[in-house]
Amino acid sequence: MTETPLIGEVSSGVASAALSGARIGVVTFPGTLDDRDAARAVRLAGATAVELWHGDNELADVDAVVIPGGFSYGDYLRAGAISRFAPLMSRIVDAANSDAKLPVLGICNGFQILTEAHLLPGSMIKNDHLKFLCRDQVLRVENNTTAWTNAYAAGQEITVPLKNQDGQYIADEKTLDALEAEGRVAFRYVGMNPNGSRRDIAGITNAAGNVVGLMPHPEHAIEVGYGPDHTGTDGLGFFTSVLNTLLGGK
């Protein structure tokens, strides 16, 4: 019998004790939407997801942090503009910049928050076509040495959902040149540029490689049948990457 297109088969095996010992925080702001999805991705990768609340003043001993997507504060004023001032964000910024180099992943609204918080350069403005766009998007992994991308091959193409209204990445030419020169463009859009982002940039990393932000949603491509039609689990590598990093693999 040909394989029935079943969904719900989780491709990761049973988590090892070492993996599930890794505590990955998932931040919820008012208006965050993809927090439960990010927590599921963490779990399916084998780690323990820890809920973090924007108003908290400490990081609850997490080993890494995901700032998930959504419309925190409704995206009012500017996407990420109000969230950036949350008490927890100060802790995250400090920990990311500390010697411990806390791994931080910002997805979509999380990426916008990271740029507003100046952990990552540049900013996002409205998509060039001005509409919200939800599509399965092909990305090329340009830098596979960061805390969140080391499970991928350099140049690997992955498909993950993209869904946003303010996804056009912009920065001045000097910053863009520096990002390119330092290999800090982590992902580029392939096939089509869905929002007019400068130089097809979909995601970037900080110089140390512990802070990564991107507009598309890897946490929506972690289970067969609940993600993009043909591949479905290309996003899981983000979450296994950080486990490699935490367990000293890379």
Binding site: T4, D37, F71, K131, E219, H220
Partner: protein, 779 residues
């Protein structure tokens, strides 16, 4: 948070001085005061009834309450007598899984394993014409609050839409706004959009239909009802502040105010705040989790009037509320206006005194404003005070439930017979029916590029279908499927359908056809249909022709639900959809909810495995009246396709069994656009071609190739069957005596749809035709 309450109380107290409060005492003493009941939409007999019920003239505030609660929208006065059939035509079997039936904010259906699901569809038609973005956005907001108020976590939305002619200059305005509004609001709530409809027809030019469906899930123990019980329990209003939204008519309550410098500016439309609603959802779920509320009610149409009177009359029957405690966005609002305001993103709840602190802690956490308005009593009266003075003293039942009910006259329109006699076959428009391969190919391309049959990507790409991580199927598949339980894979499927042309030709059968199609869509995905919600969009009930359409549709729909064994658990009636005296086509939008024990088994609508056999289930007759093809030729007349509910049921069982036992990898039902549309859609779904031979089935059914491709005969579907399953599958069909014809095979290498003996079209050409239409008109 207390500082806010105090702040506003002072504000309210100050503004109170500006009002000439019409107290109950005053009303009793001044029976002859002129009241603007007509301006508020009441009829003489209705006003007389209010006076009779109260035994005196109403106060201004009471008049405000009765006028909104006795409006068509809130009281269903024209449709109530007919709607009863949804409750009466039900067997014990149908009641088995119904945990909450019609009458509550939304019905609740048992899914098993302790899970329950609630869903409902509603209209937001006229606001969406005036201001499409905000009208559609607040439509989503309103239906989602209905779902929350049942104790459920909302998990998905859908949006059946009907707009005017695609090339009319005003259509782009409505289309752009409504789609952006639905996306803007729904996407911000984190609710995947999993399906809907899109129909263009000039009859909707001045009355677009923007219907919205929401579905939510909960554990059985979390079901909440809108009732206020327990004397001494506190009544609280939380969420957004109350502004002058949607109170147009109420400003005529001049008797409430003696200050004519009072700014009478009231918003013409309501603006939604999706962020506030998202926070409200999380906040309510936290309240439910902690069992912190005894009863809860969303505030929709008729706002506080509705919430207080319904909570009170469904509970122990008494409530006492101090209206100056309501937090206001606009301090100039009069008591009547506050009672009528339809400001969005508000909820009312009943909380025991022991839970007050815990309730307040949840509000603080989410930074939601709230104010305590009063308490539940056992007096059987709803008493509303303004600075302690009684301005409302009513039996809440008389407001909420004992509104007027009309037996409006109705009669089969005089023109109905002539309309039905005017069949497409043989009409002028049917001249030169395509017969050659070349002409049929052109017809197929025309069909799939046509406004109603073209790809809806332009719309659906603006909707988040992934959020939540539980969407197993969404557009362009036949039904949306959402996983409910991550452990077991238990899930639900939903589809909405309506065909205004069919219903115009024959309201009784048209409504049944809407149900049949939604049922078929759900079964095609592999789910077992369980429950129905409907949104009845019609013209004016005061027109006997329209009233007949409404009566016939309800009769047809309720009969068909009985025959299919699935109950109506809730819905909505939207009347007066007409421009001048021209009503829209009667448009009963029917939503069917089904259940999948394991969503991993759901069936998508496209094939992708090379070599699988393609079967056509069901038979085809010459049924082109009311079809998309006739519509494209500019013809509307005759009788819609025949409904055979037993065949729908048999087909459904085959599709459900085949899905459960892994006998089909793809299934797509045949509906508007018939076999031609289905073949193209199933090929384009995963960009996988097929070779199809039509001659044998055409001969079997005694129709020509064109009719086989374009007729809209019901109870049909196409499926892709793995070779290894063919015998088992055909045996099943034979055993059930259901026609199944092998019409072709999936051909992955070809990259085209090949109708043998007719023509072959590359998939790229089909896609181009299918996908170019909406971008061409809407950018």
């Amino acid at each position: 948070m207390s500082e806010i309450s105090t702040g506003s109380t002072t504000e309210a107290a100050e503004s109170a001085k500006k009002f000439n409060i019409d107290t109950v005492e005053n009303a009793a003493k001044t029976p002859d005061v002129e009241l603007p009941w007509a301006e508020l939409g009441l009829k003489q007999n209705e006003f007389d009834d209010v006076v009779k019920v109260l035994g005196r003239r109403p106060t201004g505030a009471e008049l405000a309450m009765y006028s909104v609660m006795w409006s068509e929208h809130c009281s269903y006065k024209s449709s109530k007598n007919h709607l009863r059939q949804f409750g009466s035509k039900v067997t014990e079997e149908m009641k088995k899984d119904m945990l909450v039936g019609i009458g509550e904010n939304a019905g609740v259906t048992n899914l098993g394993d302790g899970w329950a699901v609630t869903f409902k569809i509603e209209s937001h038609n006229s606001p969406s014409f005036v201001e499409p973005y905000q009208g559609a956005a607040t439509g989503i907001g309103g239906i989602v609050r209905d779902i929350i108020s049942m104790g459920a976590r909302p998990v998905a939305v859908m949006d059946p839409l009907r707009f005017g002619a695609i090339d009319h200059p005003d259509t782009a305005r409505v289309m752009h706004g409504a789609v952006a509004g639905i996306g803007g609001y729904g996407n911000s709530l984190g609710l995947p959009n999993i399906g809907g409809e899109m129909v263009f027809d000039a009859v909707y030019q001045g009355n677009p239909l923007v219907n919205a469906l929401a579905v939510g899930v909960m554990r059985h123990e979390d079901i909440r009802l809108a009732n206020a019980s327990g004397k001494g329990n506190k009544v609280v209003l939380f969420g957004a502040r109350t502004g002058g939204d949607g109170i147009g008519g109420a400003s005529v309550l001049a008797s409430e105010s003696f200050d004519d410098t009072k700014p009478s500016k009231r918003p013409a439309v309501q603006v939604g705040d999706p962020f506030a609603e998202k926070v409200l959802i999380e906040c309510c779920l936290e309240l439910f989790k902690g069992s912190l509320v005894e009863g809860i009610q969303d505030l929709g149409a008729a706002g506080i009037s509705c919430a207080t009177s319904e909570l009170a009359s469904n509970g122990d029957g008494g409530m006492q509320v101090e209206l100056t405690s309501v937090l206001l966005r606009d301090p100039t609002l009069t008591p009547g206006e506050i009672l009528m305001s339809e400001s969005q993103e508000r909820m009312m709840a009943v909380v025991t005194p022991e839970n007050i602190a815990a309730f307040e802690a949840v509000m603080e956490k989410w930074a939601v404003e709230y104010s305590w308005l009063g308490e539940v009593t056992d007096t059987g009266r709803l008493i509303i005070t303004w600075e302690g003075e009684v301005i409302v003293d009513v039996d809440p039942r008389t407001v909420a439930h004992d509104g007027p009910v009309y037996d409006r006259p109705y009669a089969r329109p005089q023109w109905q017979d002539a309309l039905q006699a005017d069949t497409f076959t043989g009409s002028v428009q049917d001249g030169g029916r395509p017969a050659s391969a070349e002409d049929i190919k052109a017809a197929v391309l025309e069909l799939i590029a046509s406004p109603n049959m073209c790809s809806k990507d332009w719309i659906t790409n603006q909707y988040d279908r992934y959020v939540g991580g539980n969407t197993a199927l969404a557009f362009p598949d036949d039904a949306g499927v959402v996983r409910v339980d991550e452990e077991t894979g238990l899930g639900v499927a939903l589809a909405t359908d309506a065909n205004g042309r069919y219903t115009f030709l024959d309201p009784f059968h048209g409504a049944q056809l809407a149900l049949a199609e939604a049922y078929r869509n759900v079964a095609t995905s592999g789910a077992v249909p369980m429950a129905v919600s409907d949104c009845l969009n019609f013209g004016s009930p005061e027109d006997p022709d329209v009233m007949w359409q409404l009566a016939e549709s309800i009769r047809g729909l309720s009969d068909a639900c009985m025959e299919l064994g699935i109950p109506v658990t809730g819905g909505n009636v939207s009347l007066y959809n007409q421009t001048g005296t021209t009503p829209i086509h009667p448009s009963p939008v029917v939503a069917v909810l089904g259940k999948l024990d394991d969503v991993a088994r759901r069936t998508p609508s496209g094939w992708k495995e090379d070599g699988q056999a393609i079967y056509l289930l069901g038979t085809t007759a010459d049924e082109l009246d009311g079809s998309e093809w006739a519509n494209l030729r500019g013809h509307l007349g005759g009788l819609p396709p025949k409904v055979v509910l037993s065949a729908e049921r048999a087909l459904g069982e085959i599709l459900i069994n085949a899905s459960r036992d892994g006998m089909v990898d793809a299934a797509h039902d045949l509906s508007e656009g018939g076999l031609a549309a289905a073949l193209v859609e199933s090929s384009l779904r995963y960009n996988t071609g097929a070779r199809i031979a039509l001659d044998e089935v055409a001969a079997r059914d005694g129709v020509d190739a064109f009719t086989l491709l374009f007729s809209e005969s019901q109870a049909r579907a196409i499926v892709a069957v793995p070779r290894s399953e063919e015998i088992r599958f055909t045996d099943m069909c034979t055993a059930r005596n259901f026609p199944a014809a092998r019409i072709g095979v999936v051909d992955a290498a070809s990259g085209s749809l090949d109708l043998q003996g007719q023509f072959s079209v590359p998939l790229d050409e089909l896609r181009e035709a299918h996908e170019a239409t909406l971008p061409k008109y809407f950018g």
